[in-house]
Symmetry: C2
C-alpha cells in the first residue's frame, strides 16, 4: 500500500492506493497551519500499512537532495508553512521512503503514467487557477535542474487592450499576475465563472495562455500539453488558445494538430493525487 | 578515432579526435551547397579510420529517430540544404554510427563534458551571433521532446526606447529578431564591433538577453548558463545582464552568484566541435 498527499494552498488531499495508480481511500483536510493540518494527515495514514508516501506540495519547495533544507517548503506566502520540513516529519513518523516534488510536477507525472500523456516520455502540465504553475516530464524524468520550474512567473507581452496593473507580489504583471484567477477577478470585478458571457475576458485570457505556450514549446518542445486548474474549466478558452498560438508561432515549428496536442487532463482533478501516488512508487523503487 | 562536424551557416568545421575530447586535426570548409561542401567533408574524413561521426548542425533539423526524415535538415533558409539527408549520406559513405543534433545542443554537450559546466548534469548553452539559439543538458541528457528546442524565437517585451521593427522573417520582433547580430546592425546602422563605445546599444542588448534568461531560468532551472557567439565577445554585456536579470526576477527564485552562474564558454569557440566529438562518442556507445 502507498500513501499520497497533494498539498494545495487551501486543502490537503490525502489518499492511499496501489502501484497501478488505483486510489483506495481519500480524504481532504484544510490547509491551515502545520500544527493543525499535519496531525490529521498522520492520523489518516496511521490506519494503513504503508510502504512509501509521495508528496506533491505547492511550491516553492526545496527539491535538491544535496541541500540541507531538502524536503522543506521555502518562500511560500502561507507563512505557517515556511521552512516546514515535511519530508523529515513524515519519514520520522512512518519510517518509509518519501517521494517529494511540486504539486504540478506530481500532476505531470500522473498524466504521463495514467492520463492524457500515457505512453509518452514527455509532457507539460499547466495549472491555471489561484496561481499558475507547471510541471514537466522530459525524456521520462520529472524536470529538475538547480530547482523545480517556476513557469507561472514568466514575462508576457501585454494584450493591446489590457490596462490592468497585474497582481503578482513579486513581478506585478508576469503571466500569473495577469492571467491567474485572482487577476481575472481583480481586473473585471467578478469571478471567471460569472464572466462566461463576456468574450473579451476569454480573448485576453487565451492571448496570455497562448503566449506562455509559445515560450514553453520553443524552450521544452513537450510531446503533449495538458491544461488544468479552475480557469481551464472554461472550455471556450481552447479554440482561442489554438488561434493565438498559431498566430504567434507563424509556422516556425511544426506541431501536431493543436486539438490533440493541447488538451484537458485525462485524470480530471485527480492528476495531482495520482501523481503523488506515483512519487511514492518511485521513492520505493529508489530505496530498493 | 572519432570524427566531428560542426555545421554552421557560413562554415563547416570538421575534426578528428579521441574519446577524451582531444582534437587531433581540424579543417574549415565553406558552407555553400551540399554538392560542393560534402565532397570536401568526405575527402577529409577519408584520411582516417573512424569509429563514429558526430554532427552538430544549424537548425531546424529532424532529430526524431522515429521520423522518416530523421537526420535531415528541415526548414532552413539556406535552400540548398533543405531536406538534405546528412546522416544517411555519412552513414552510407563511412558505415559507422552517426550522432546528430543541433549545433547548440552539441555546444551544450561540449561545455558539460569539458567546459564551464564540467561535472554538472545540467546546463544551458546560448549562442548570440548571426542568430540566437540554445541547447540544454537536462539531468545528464541533451534536451529533446517533440523536437529540439528553438529558444531563440521566444517573445520578449520591448525595451522602452526600442522602436526597431525586428528582423525575424517569421516573428518580426521575437528575441532573435531584436537581439541577434543582424538586428543590431540594422537598428544602429553599424556592426556591434563598431558600436563598443555606445552604452545605449549594450543596455538594450542586455535588457533583451536578461529577459530571455529569466524565461529560461523559470522554465528549465539550469545549473549553469553559458553565453557564447559573436555578440557575447562584448564582455561589457555581462554586468548589464546581471543587473536586469536581478531586477526582473525580483528575488523570486534564489540563484547562485550571477557572475559564477552566467559565464562565457569554458571551451571558447571550440564548444561546438568538442560537443560534436562527444555526439560521436555517444553514437558509438549506443551502437555497442
Amino acid at each position: 500500500m502507498l500513501g499520497a498527499i497533494e498539498a494545495g494552498g487551501t486543502k490537503f488531499v490525502c489518499a492511499v492506493g496501489d502501484k497501478t495508480g488505483k486510489i483506495i481511500e481519500r480524504i481532504q483536510i484544510p490547509t491551515t497551519v502545520p500544527e493543525e493540518t499535519m496531525p490529521q494527515v498522520i492520523d489518516f495514514f496511521n490506519g494503513y500499512q504503508l510502504e512509501a508516501i509521495g508528496v506533491g506540495f505547492f511550491g516553492p519547495i526545496d527539491v535538491n537532495m544535496e541541500s540541507p533544507s531538502y524536503g522543506s517548503i521555502t518562500s511560500t506566502p502561507k507563512t505557517g508553512w515556511r521552512d516546514y520540513p515535511i519530508v523529515k516529519t513524515l519519514a520520522e513518523e512512518f519510517g518509509v521512503p518519501i517521494g517529494f516534488n511540486t504539486d504540478v510536477n506530481a500532476a505531470a507525472l500522473g498524466e504521463v503514467t495514467h492520463g492524457a500523456a500515457k505512453g509518452l516520455d514527455s509532457c507539460l502540465y499547466i495549472t491555471i487557477g489561484t496561481g499558475i504553475g507547471a510541471g514537466a516530464i522530459v525524456q521520462g524524468n520529472l524536470l529538475q535542474g538547480l530547482s523545480h520550474p517556476e513557469m507561472g512567473h514568466i514575462l508576457v507581452r501585454r494584450h493591446p487592450q489590457d490596462e490592468y496593473q497585474g497582481k503578482c507580489p513579486y513581478h506585478g504583471d508576469c503571466l500569473e499576475g495577469l492571467a491567474a484567477g485572482p487577476a481575472i477577478e481583480d481586473r473585471w470585478g467578478a469571478k471567471g465563472i460569472d464572466l462566461v458571457d463576456k468574450p473579451e475576458v476569454w480573448d485576453m485570457q487565451g492571448y496570455y495562455i497562448a503566449q506562455a505556450l509559445m515560450q514553453y514549446v520553443l524552450i521544452l518542445s513537450p510531446k503533449k500539453i495538458i491544461l488544468g486548474g479552475g480557469v481551464m474549466h472554461q472550455k471556450q478558452l481552447f479554440p482561442t488558445i489554438y488561434k493565438y498560438l498559431n498566430e504567434f508561432l507563424a509556422g516556425y515549428v511544426s506541431l501536431p494538430e493543436l486539438s490533440d496536442y493541447i488538451v484537458s487532463p485525462g485524470l480530471g482533478d485527480h492528476a495531482g493525487i495520482t501523481g503523488s501516488l506515483m512519487l511514492a512508487k518511485q521513492a520505493l523503487q529508489e530505496n530498493n
